[in-house]
Amino acid sequence: MKKVAILEYGMGNIDSVFRAVEECGANPVRTCDAAEIRDADCIILPGVGAFGDAIQKIRERRLDEIVAERVLDRGIPFLGICLGMQLLADKSHEFGEHRGLGWIRGEVVRLCPDNLSVLIPHVGWNEVHPQFDSPLLQGIRLGKDFYFVHSYHFICAKKENQLATTPYCGGFTSVIGEKNIFGVQFHPEKSQRVGFQLLRNFLAL
């Protein structure tokens, strides 16, 4: 059974991710412990909340260094969910400017309504349209709905990192990826069948 380290750093609903991974047939552990992280086959970074607080908590626990060693040097699969995806960026403009992990080139900015009837935060079920073939999106029908809840979005510096987009506010990036590193703006753990498919794809990497 695959061992999955779900990074615990005091930012939100880690329990749902834990349960979903368990349901998908893997062996999750909630942790910020270096030895446990080194022992895992793959790593998930969940997170809800503000970027600044999150990146500070990650650095305080030296999670950035521990995870970098596994993900950047050893190439084990990594998935960032929601804020966890945004933390991969070079920087974010949420409540000031904050430096991110910088593992996938890009910036995080607030969603900008393209007309008056568009509401922020973007809450609810919306489509995900793949832009490139990716093992993460295998077997997921084009334009399937996933559950979103966010006010900020990731702008990729490199087009090829933008694996899927979602039609809201003129379209934004909903899945990013580079080699073994992935990020999803939606919540696969709350997207029922189709979300579990994506998690299983990740666990099979």
Binding site: F95, P121, V123, G124, W125, H150, E189, Q192
Partner: protein
């Protein structure tokens, strides 16, 4: 395209789910866990769980119960009832709630809304507003509708959005449990005034009522309890109906 959402509401009191009329005459309708399992199987869009006596009894949220329920809930879950501090919110999110619904405390201590939004993000803050009609005007009530505040719902909702609320759960107390349709005027007044989504609640009895709330009422989502508990109508059939009438739904 973003889909409209249909959200079953579960009201919890004295260890079971209940249903009332006009926030009164509650009757038991069974176990919370069972209801969550059924809705999970049916893949509903989102679920709202409200502990309706926590605040009145001065209790904190039942974190253990929420932990158990959330473990079975693979859809977005909003939890309300008895939330009074940043720490309550942190603990609820930690046991698996995706959003928290804050009602009485938002009136008593509006800064809490700002603090929660700042720390955990607007996306997890739902301000739940219960509205009673008094004469020709509306006023916000707290403590499960038992305390009138004299506050105007549009002004209050606007203030909440400014403080960082991500959504408003707007309930008409008179319509609650009647299955006679939402208070469309109230829904429209609040929805039009706000840049954030409004969830219409109180009064749904038919698919047509959903359609009205989402079009005339300008709501982004609809919540219903009695209709799903006491009639043959289901969230899925509701979505098929709305789809036929041209609204975007997730099927």
């Amino acid at each position: 395209m973003l889909k409209v959402r249909i959200m079953p509401t579960l009201l919890y009191r004295d260890f079971e789910l209940v249903k009332g009329v006009g926030f009164d005459s509650w009757r038991g309708i069974g176990s919370a866990m069972q209801a969550i399992r059924v809705y999970n199987m049916r893949e509903v869009d989102e679920l709202i769980f409200l502990d309706i006596t926590a605040t009145r009894e001065g209790r904190e949220p039942d974190f253990e119960l929420i932990d158990d329920l959330a473990d079975e809930c693979f859809m977005p879950l909003t939890v309300g009832g008895g939330i009074r501090s940043l720490d309550d919110v942190r603990r609820l999110l930690d046991v698996g709630a995706d959003k928290v619904a804050i009602n009485s405390e938002a009136i008593r201590n509006p800064v809490l809304i700002y603090d929660v939004a700042r720390q955990f993000g607007s996306q997890c803050v739902v301000v739940s507003i219960d509205v009673k009609r008094t004469g020709r005007s509306n006023e916000v009530c707290t403590h499960s509708g038992t305390k009138a505040t004299g506050v105007d719902p549009v002004a209050f909702a606007t203030e909440m959005a400014k403080l960082g609320a991500g959504e408003i759960l707007l309930t008409s107390i008179e319509r609650d449990g009647t299955m006679e349709g939402y208070d469309l005027e109230l829904m429209r007044q609040v929805s039009e005034a706000l840049p954030i989504p409004v969830i219409a609640s109180g009064g749904a009895g038919s698919y047509e009522n959903f359609y009205q709330a989402l079009t005339e009422g300008k709501a982004a989502a609809v919540a219903a309890a009695s209709m799903f508990h006491f009639t043959e109508q289901t969230p899925l059939a509701a979505k098929k109906y709305l789809c036929e009438r041209g609204l975007p739904v997730r099927l």
